[in-house]
């Protein structure tokens, strides 16, 4: 395989395979770089602030990475694995990447996907809950999955034991009569089935729905992967329904991530005597909307159209009027703060603060002190 034949995605897949690579590290590496450049930076051990910063956190990292890149052809291996398994590599900012995650506060830098990417082009509801579910909880999850899919709403879940699996089983129940496809976000490689008992469900989602993961083929599930996985579920969902959760459950991580993203959280109440409902009851006490029957979710969806469009809409919060004037002053140009001051006539401090706010809101991109206005589809569109 010649270097020219390798698409940029392959380099990202290769980077994702490095030992000690995390989502945050990969995101930092790909900031302002193409996959190929990021790969070169690691291989050629560039003097680079991002790499230095990573190395500061883990002193042996640079050397380990370099060794790994020198001793095996990770890019080729990762890319051929992906092609063999029919895995799409979706890189942040490149075509095909889920629009809902484009402006996530911590978007996955890369997603490995199996199945049909169009599955996400529907209304989407996340259903999560405990692995140690009660039979009643499982039944409720399955009913929710069934009714939502029947109404054409995509069900997003984590494919774990208990509630997660039950929700997708509900989706499968109505697959034959043309319900919406399932979306699963998992914490292992797209070819590493976990848990084993969901083998059928896994393969069915990978062929008829969409199976997403941040991990390259061959990655085994580690405990640290799951909280990360939960944030992706939260980021993809328009609404999040918690069916059963203990007061310290992993589902509450998903809830926290959802709240951070302004995604409404709904909860199914349960008996006070049932430990598996303590978390959900508490959510209701804290003001989460209550789900007494599946249609409550549909009603909630009907009221909220903010994140519904499947067209590439702009999820960014509109800047305040004074900042909008600053943004307008940029036009299509890349400017330093000094140049901005010249254009607007505002004082330097006000300008710097405005730039800070616009940058945080995703309207400007900081390129080493130069600021470039960003289109809502990301800097590469």
């Amino acid at each position: 395989m010649t270097a020219a034949a390798v698409p940029d995605e392959a380099f990202v897949a290769g980077l994702a395979r490095l030992d000690g690579m995390t989502s945050a590290r990969l995101r930092a590496l790909l900031r302002g770089r193409t996959g190929r450049q990021a790969w070169q930076a690691v291989v050629e051990d560039w003097a680079d602030e991002t790499l230095d910063r990573l190395a500061a956190a883990d002193p042996g990292l640079r050397a380990r990475w370099r060794m790994a890149t020198l001793t095996s052809d990770l890019v080729e291996a990762a890319w051929s694995d992906c092609r063999r398994l029919g895995v799409h590599v979706l890189v942040w900012g490149r075509p095909g990447y889920p629009v809902a995650l484009l402006h996530d506060p911590s978007p996955p830098p890369v997603l490995f996907a199996r199945g049909n990417l169009a599955t996400l082009d529907t209304r989407r509801v996340g259903i999560v809950g405990t692995r140690n579910a009660t039979p009643g909880g499982r039944r409720m999850a399955r009913a929710l999955g069934r009714e939502l899919a029947e109404a054409g709403v995509g069900v997003i879940s984590g494919l774990a034991r208990g509630i997660d699996g039950a929700a997708h089983m509900g989706v499968r129940d109505v697959a034959e009569i043309g319900g919406a496809g399932p979306v699963a976000v998992v914490g292992s490689g797209p070819d590493v089935v976990f848990p084993r008992e969901h083998c059928d469900l896994w393969e069915w989602i990978a062929s008829d729905g969409l199976l997403l993961t941040e991990h390259p083929p061959g990655t085994t599930p580690l405990p640290a992967h799951f909280p990360q996985r939960n944030r992706v579920i939260a980021g993809l969902s328009e609404l999040l329904v918690v069916v059963e959760s203990r007061s310290t459950g992993g589902s509450l991580i998903t809830v926290r991530e959802a709240i951070k993203r302004g995604v409404d959280v709904l909860a199914v109440p349960g008996s006070l005597m049932n430990r598996a409902s303590h978390g959900t009851n508490q959510l209701i006490a804290d003001g989460a909307r209550t789900v007494l029957e599946p249609s409550d979710v549909l009603i909630a969806l009907g009221l909220d159209t903010r994140r519904t469009s499947t067209l590439p809409f702009d999820p960014r919060v509109e800047p305040a009027p004074r900042d909008r004037l600053v943004l307008a002053a940029f036009g299509a140009d890349t400017l330093t703060i000094d140049e901005l001051v010249t254009r607007t006539g505002n004082d330097a401090i006000a300008s710097a603060l405005a730039v800070g706010r616009l940058e945080a809101g995703g309207w400007l991109l900081d390129i080493g002190g130069w600021y470039a206005p960003v289109d809502h589809l990301g800097p590469w569109s």
């Binding site: 945050a24 900031r31 070169q40 500061a56 703060i337 001051v341 002190g369």
Partner: protein, 515 residues
């Protein structure tokens, strides 16, 4: 007969007392110097002989032995001519011993008997002062320098060996030394009001001056990086007496011309060229371990223009002094510690071609990577402030009125520095353990920090530096102890990611490739 004349040499930035012992006795006529003299000391013999003969003084036809005590330390330099000649005259009984009792001498002799100045007189005299000398004799042009180190010891000077002998014999009296007019060195110093536009870069200067933060300007050629940096010393207040003496000693030891009053009263500004060697910047050398530019910039500003063009070893060698505020130079025979508390201002192009603005650069990735490697990460990290500078617009260049004057900005800087004095540290020096005490984060600032950390754009160490800069910004605004989100946000804007400037082009090429 035997005579002992005190004098001194220089090692690093301090003087080293040397006693020149001259013995003139019977034996075959001859002249030998012992006590580890270097080549210049040994040549002293010929200079002294010629100078004495030219001054009409007979050369004793006896066995002359000179010892330089302490005899175990290698001596270097040329300041030994005068003490040698005087010692010889006493030992040969051409001068009364009482005339030179507890009198120190420093100076080089010309073949015609003129007494010439040598570098390092201030620290030399300071090292001799401890031995209650009653007077020190130096060359006339060294007088102001000698007085800095002399304290209460009298400084006497004459230009000619013949005249000196006459004075010491009591046939003549010491010439009256003129007192130099103290000229205000600030007059003629470049003023900030000359800078047109660039309010943000000026802000960077102000913060650097107020908090003692090292500052890096990143920008294309012609953006005025040098012009800005030259105006930084003006923003720093005059040196305290103690600081002035420290700085003067270093300048004297290095043989740098001192200002008219003799004392370096204002922060020095040193701008070594990028071809300078590590020894030139850090200090050292084989013999007397001369102070380097970083020490010469002690209590002032060290400006490194074209930081990326400096040799990587030089840039790396700067790290330790920046951390410890002093340089330790060790050689096989000696090791010295020299003060090096300088504010470093550097300027660099974002890449070798100097394109500057993202998208304008023409460099290859390899060339750019090599360039950035020189700005080693650890050094880059020392710059709390990194400010992107762009070429000023035509309108700004044509503007009649400049920005604020140096005096105006200095008022704010002085205010912030006064707060720092109460605190005990300049904000750049607040220890990590005390950041929570001096720069606690407000609620809003915490949110901002969390976002930056989550985005992977800030490291733990970077955060400490940002907090210190935010502290300075708050001090400039005379704000409370808690750091507000606003100041933190400004601090973040004052610390741009240098590697990302290069990525800017990658970004545009990536856009080009896709569309």
């Amino acid at each position: 007969m035997l005579a002992t004349i005190p004098t001194a040499g220089v090692l690093g930035t301090t003087g080293q007392r040397i006693d020149v012992e001259v013995h003139v006795g019977p034996g075959l006529p001859g002249f030998s110097i012992v006590g580890l003299p270097d080549e210049a000391c040994r040549e002293s013999r010929d200079r002294v002989r010629a100078a004495m003969l030219s001054s009409g003084l007979p050369w004793p036809q006896k066995r002359i032995t000179v010892n330089l005590a302490p005899s175990g330390v290698r001596k270097s330099g040329i300041g030994l001519d005068l003490p040698l000649a005087v010692g010889l005259l006493v030992a040969a009984e051409m001068l009364p011993p009482s005339a030179v009792e507890s009198v120190g001498c420093i100076g080089e002799l010309g073949l015609d008997g003129t007494i010439r100045p040598v570098p390092g007189v201030a620290p030399m005299v300071a090292s001799m002062r401890a031995d209650d000398l009653r007077m020190v004799i130096v060359a006339r042009t060294s007088v102001t320098e000698a007085r800095v180190g002399a304290g209460s010891t009298a400084v006497r000077a004459t230009d000619d060996l013949r005249e000196l002998v006459a004075i010491l014999r009591g046939e003549s009296s010491w010439p009256i030394l003129p007192v130099d007019d103290v000229v205000d060195e600030r007059v003629g110093l470049p003023d900030l009001s000359d800078v047109r536009g660039q309010p943000w870069a000026r802000r960077g200067l102000e913060v650097a001056a107020a908090g003692g933060h090292h500052l890096l300007f990143v920008g294309p050629p012609g953006a005025g990086k040098t012009m800005l940096a030259e105006r930084l010393p003006g923003l720093l207040g005059p040196l305290s007496n103690e600081e002035a003496i420290e700085a003067t000693m270093i300048h004297s030891a290095a043989g740098v011309r001192l200002p008219s009053g003799g004392l370096v009263r204002y922060p020095p500004f040193r701008a070594p060229h990028h071809t300078s060697t590590a020894v030139a910047i850090i200090g050292g050398g084989t013999q007397n371990l001369r102070p380097g530019e970083i020490s010469l910039a002690h209590r002032g500003v060290l400006f490194l223009d074209e930081l990326g063009e400096f040799s990587p070893s030089v840039v790396d060698a700067l790290r330790q002094p920046l951390e410890d505020l002093q340089v330790r130079v060790s050689r096989a025979r000696s090791s010295v510690t020299m003060p090096a508390d300088a504010l470093v201002v550097a300027a660099t192009n974002p890449c070798p071609c100097g394109g500057g603005r993202p998208g304008d650069c023409l460099c290859s990735e390899v060339a750019k990577a090599r360039y950035l490697r020189r700005l080693s990460g650890p050094l880059l990290d020392r710059f709390d402030l990194r400010v992107a500078v762009s070429r000023p617009a035509i309108d700004e260049l044509m503007a009649v009125d400049g920005g604020e004057t140096t005096a105006l900005v200095r008022e704010r800087v002085d205010g912030a520095r006064r707060i720092a004095v109460d605190r005990g540290y300049l904000s750049a020096r607040i220890p990590v353990g005390e950041l929570d005490e001096w720069a606690p984060l407000s609620r809003g600032a915490q949110v901002l920090v969390r976002t930056e950390l989550e985005q992977g754009r800030l490291s733990g160490r970077g955060l400490h530096r940002i907090r210190r800069v935010a502290r300075t910004l708050a001090d400039l605004d005379n704000a409370g102890v808690e750091i507000e989100a606003e100041h933190l946000s400004l601090a973040l804007r004052l610390r741009v990611d240098v590697a990302a400037v290069s990525a800017g082009r990658s970004l545009t090429t990536a856009i080009g490739a896709l569309t």
